[in-house]
Homo-oligomer: 394 residues x 2
């Protein structure tokens, strides 16, 4: 760390980890407390009570000291047995990675092919489930908001696909880059396990994984034979009843989560949080349109409120653009992942963010496009500002 | 958190999580950085380079966003297959819990019985290994410093037991409450996997698990068939080469670890750190002797430098004593775990600690013994102070 000082605040505009509010960082800087002492349960219970609101559920939510990837693994090992069939849909890089986790754990994962530019095809899910006469498929696992493409999927439609096919598979949803930033309804959508992480909409550093667990998912634990210990929901659910954890929790991240929930649930309110994200996403897309660039997402009804992935004209290198922007303007943007490497970049506009930070972000992109000599029109920033200045809430 | 304010600093004298230095808390309060950006590898590489010194190894050390419990699971799933034999020794509660993790993962764990007052019986290990003619035992897993009893085991002797028996089992060691506070030598002792956590000698909040991995352990991965994904060493080792991680690391804990390593390795020096812990443990034991109370640890050569577990006279309740001390003096002590529940309490004297904090700790115990009407002699504090005041470094 002997680099020369870069003045001012870094613009962390990747689609997570997101900017952590100073209040949350300060809350995390409290001295550690005894996780078996009397000060701990009020903290844990206050968190667990308010966390369910973010998932829109009455079901319990389990926390792990882990990344979101750990939440993926936990969702699978608690309800499945070796060789069980799992149906996934290739919305992009993260769907493919979750599929890979399932395969490594010994599951028979079938990944329905997608074009990385649109969301889950609920009709394809339904028709595959109808063909599964022997009920080999025990779970359908989809990504709500595909962080590699900026495409959001209609989870209610996936639920209807299961119901129309009359198939008993459990529905697992990755809400890692959606939760706490866009509408999410665990109960209403009939989701059995929702997977989330701390470092996106929840405005925390990475280090906490989450599973919201339906009654049916809990019931499935009894027959699930994949080995599990660290990820086992049962000891956590039991200990949580009195506000404790079966092993040492990530105490200081819990301090941060407590503060973040106060900010999101009590102070700003989840509806306002979601409206803000929709508005910032719209402003960003207007900028992209103003530049004459193409979105990765193809269907307007699937545009992500939390990030925008932008295609770069053929012959240009998206990573060279990101490099120029980082060096000149101290802003991090998301790289193109997997098959989008070099062909797209991603603007994260989720978490603790206001109009002027978004405006600065878009200005950095516009200046970077010029410096990196990426063919584009000017006017993107102004189109976004015109929209933002109006201040209408949608 | 509407409790009335307790003035001054809480005394967190459980055997971990330990007190986190303000410098480390402040380091953790830095804004999150892009874990795939250019600022990240210098941080990660500087940590990985200095971390090996703490383990006294040239082998790689792998980090997980997890508790120490996660480190236990990782050590097992990377090198073993379902049904493999594992030999453990019941030094106390944590050895029994590691055994339980192994069983849940589908391993055939044999737990050699212990009395919870002494360390690993290397002769018993050797004789059990000699009897294992079919080489069913694939790993020997022991706890270096049993946090429930304050008993440290001689790992070099366990290594000699394997060698004398001519048995090829891998040697796994839990160094969770020893690393960074007492002498630990991964290479010299021929350990194959060392498990550690962030919240003890490393002076960090909980949330990081560690595995130091010998060449033989790495080689064992190829044949290990327990399913693994999150805990898989290989993707981490590969990504670490360039200073990255395969999934989102717990960035802010890494900021803290970076600072803690500067303090431990560069500023104080590991030898001085270990000497300090030995001295504080000796002072604590002199206090216990002064009170006329009995240690849980029976053999002087096995006394732990990082915590002291104290038996309470029959008819008294150790948790009632802890309760009085917490309420009157705002100090947390460790409870008696498992079969020591109510019969013993534990004084943590590891991590970021100086003479006067230790003195305050012992004063709190002495006053508490009086208030809780636990039969004891006074004079414990003075015996400790006499020793500490002399200032001789052992």
């Amino acid at each position: 760390m002997t680099e020369p000082r870069t003045p001012g605040r870094h613009f962390l505009q990747i689609p997570g980890p997101t900017n952590v509010p100073d209040r949350v960082l300060r809350a995390m800087a409290r001295p550690v407390i005894d996780h078996r002492g009397p000060e701990f349960p009020p903290l844990a219970l206050s968190i667990l009570e308010r966390l369910v609101e973010v998932f829109a559920t009455t079901a319990p939510v389990v926390l792990f000291p882990s990344s979101g990837t750990g939440g993926w693994e936990a969702a699978l090992v608690n309800i499945l047995s070796p060789g069980d069939g799992v149906l996934m849909f290739e919305t992009g890089h993260f769907a493919a990675m979750w599929c890979e986790v399932g395969r490594r754990l010994g599951l028979e994962v079938e990944l329905l092919p997608g074009d990385w530019r649109s969301g889950v095809d609920a009709a394809a899910i339904e028709s595959r489930l109808r063909a599964d006469r022997h009920r080999r498929i025990r779970a359908v696992a989809v990504v709500h908001n595909e962080t590699s493409t900026g495409v959001a999927s209609d989870i209610a439609a996936v639920r209807r696909a299961l119901d129309c096919a009359g198939h008993p598979a459990l529905l697992l949803v990755d809400a890692i880059s959606s939760l706490g930033a866009m509408e999410y309804r665990h109960d209403e959508w009939g989701v059995d396990v929702t997977v989330a992480g701390s470092q996106k909409g929840l405005m925390l550093p990475p280090g906490l994984g989450f599973n919201a667990i339906s009654e049916r998912a809990r019931a499935a634990m009894a027959g699930a034979r994949l080995p599990r210990s660290y990820w086992d929901w049962q000891p956590i659910l039991s200990a949580n009843e009195r506000g404790f954890f079966p092993y040492t929790p990530a105490t200081n991240l819990l301090f941060g989560l407590d503060e973040a929930l106060t900010m999101l649930v009590e102070e700003e309110g989840l509806e306002a949080v979601c409206a803000r994200h929709r508005r910032f996403a719209e402003a960003t897309r207007r900028a992209v349109a103003g530049w004459g660039l193409e979105l990765v997402a193809q269907n307007p009804e699937e545009y992500s409120p939390t990030l925008t992935a932008v295609m770069i004209p053929t012959g240009c290198d998206a990573d060279a653009l990101r490099q120029v922007i980082l060096e000149r303007f101290d802003m991090s943007l998301g790289t193109g992942l997997g098959k989008l490497q070099g062909r797209a970049f991603r603007i994260g506009h989720l978490g603790d963010l206001n109009e002027l930070t978004l405006a600065g972000t878009l200005c950095g992109v516009e200046m970077g496009l010029g410096l990196a000599q990426v063919a584009h029109q000017s006017g993107g920033v102004m189109a976004a500002l015109d929209y933002l200045a109006r201040g209408d809430r949608e």
